[in-house]
């Protein structure tokens, strides 16, 4: 491109600004869209977990299998089976029970509260408090999408 005079120079500068402007638009939309989709997906996964636990409670499965007096006497195998079978196959899951005395793993063993985040940085947490026993127990369901 040959700039022959001042007018041509102005047009050249204006074209550069327009290119910059369009580039900004192009950069803007994909980023916002990706973030929104990702957040929606995470939120949906969280709601799936809550709905699953609520359904297990409403159907009486939690009442039947969580011991009302001695938590460690609960039927953890049945609880785990029902919970996992209620979840979509595209979701990875970890179940944890929280009481005032500490946290218990899916198999009823005392463990640190929370999720060991190795490889599960995108996990969401669904919490459901089962209050139909003298001491309530909060069921923590960590969910993540399997690729």
């Amino acid at each position: 491109m040959v700039i022959r005079n001042k007018k041509g120079y102005f047009y050249f500068i204006e074209i550069i600004f327009i290119v910059l402007l369009m580039t900004s638009f192009i950069l803007f939309f994909p980023r916002a869209e990706t973030s929104d989709l990702r957040l929606t997906e995470q939120h949906n996964l969280e709601l799936t977990g809550i709905t699953t636990l609520k359904n297990l409670d409403d159907s009486g499965i939690l009442s039947k299998n969580i011991d009302p007096y001695v938590f460690t006497n609960s039927n953890f195998t049945t609880l785990s089976t029902y919970t996992r079978q209620s979840l979509p196959s595209t979701a990875g899951a970890k179940l944890q029970y929280a009481l005032s005395t500490g946290c218990y793993s899916e198999s009823g063993v005392v463990e640190n509260c929370g999720l060991n985040t190795t490889g599960n940085f995108n996990a969401v947490l669904s919490e459901y408090t089962f209050s139909k026993r003298p001491e309530p127990v909060t069921i923590k369901l960590f969910l993540w999408r399997l690729l």
Binding site: I13, E14, L20, F28, S35, A98, S100, E127, Y128, P136
Partner: protein
């Protein structure tokens, strides 16, 4: 307007628009990051409300009357000679048995009973094989119309003793939610009829603010 001024005007407008878009793009990325790492509390508040409603429904069948703070669950079995006489309190000494003792069957339906003494006492009532709950520890209770002193045949095995579950809910909720970054205060405000507990709740998080009563 000269051509140079016209160019400067157009260039200024374009630069302003460009800067604005760059600014909003950065803000968008920042906000997305913040939202991604900051959990929302709407679901936790819904969970709190649901668990209170569920607990109240459960309490209406689980405990005869929350004004009575303790109960012993007794199993009566074997050869039964009525009326039976059971020791509900060991090792706790029940004060003012005549006024405070109540007996219910396994469905928490009250059944008439007598006591062996005012303090301490054993409880006398007509039983069949089954589970019975003996409630005590309500200092404001007065003697029911059927109450008398009496004796019976020793019977019954203590299964468990427990306190009213009224006070167990709030500590659990407070501990769970404080770990999740929610500023929460929970206490029992009052108890309505049929064991409906009314909780005073203050729930404060990034996206939920509540200060009131839930039952």
């Amino acid at each position: 307007m000269t051509k140079k001024a016209q160019f400067m005007l157009v260039a200024t407008i374009l630069i302003t628009i460009s800067l604005f878009i760059i600014y909003t793009y950065i803000r968008s990325a920042d906000t997305s990051s913040i939202i991604f790492f900051e959990p929302t509390s709407k679901e936790q508040f819904v969970n709190l409300h649901t668990s209170i409603a569920d607990r109240n429904a459960w309490l209406s069948n689980y405990w005869w009357d929350l004004n009575w703070q303790n109960r012993s669950t007794i199993s009566v079995s074997g050869t039964i000679v009525n009326p039976v006489q059971v020791d509900p309190q060991s090792p706790i000494t029940i004060t003012d048995c005549f006024n405070q003792i109540r007996v219910t069957d396994s469905n928490n339906v009250e059944i008439p009973s007598s006591v062996t003494a005012v303090l301490p006492c054993e409880v006398v009532f007509n039983a069949a094989a089954g589970i019975y709950n003996i409630y005590w520890n309500n200092p404001s209770a007065t003697a029911p119309g059927y109450r008398a002193l009496g004796v019976g045949t020793p019977a019954g095995t203590l299964i468990r003793k427990e306190g009213a579950p009224t006070q167990l809910f709030c500590p659990h909720i407070a501990e769970m939610y404080k770990k999740a970054g929610v500023d929460i205060n929970c206490s029992v405000q009052n108890i309505f009829s049929n064991n409906q507990v009314n909780y005073s709740i203050k729930f404060q998080s990034l996206d939920v603010s509540f200060d009131g009563f839930l039952s």
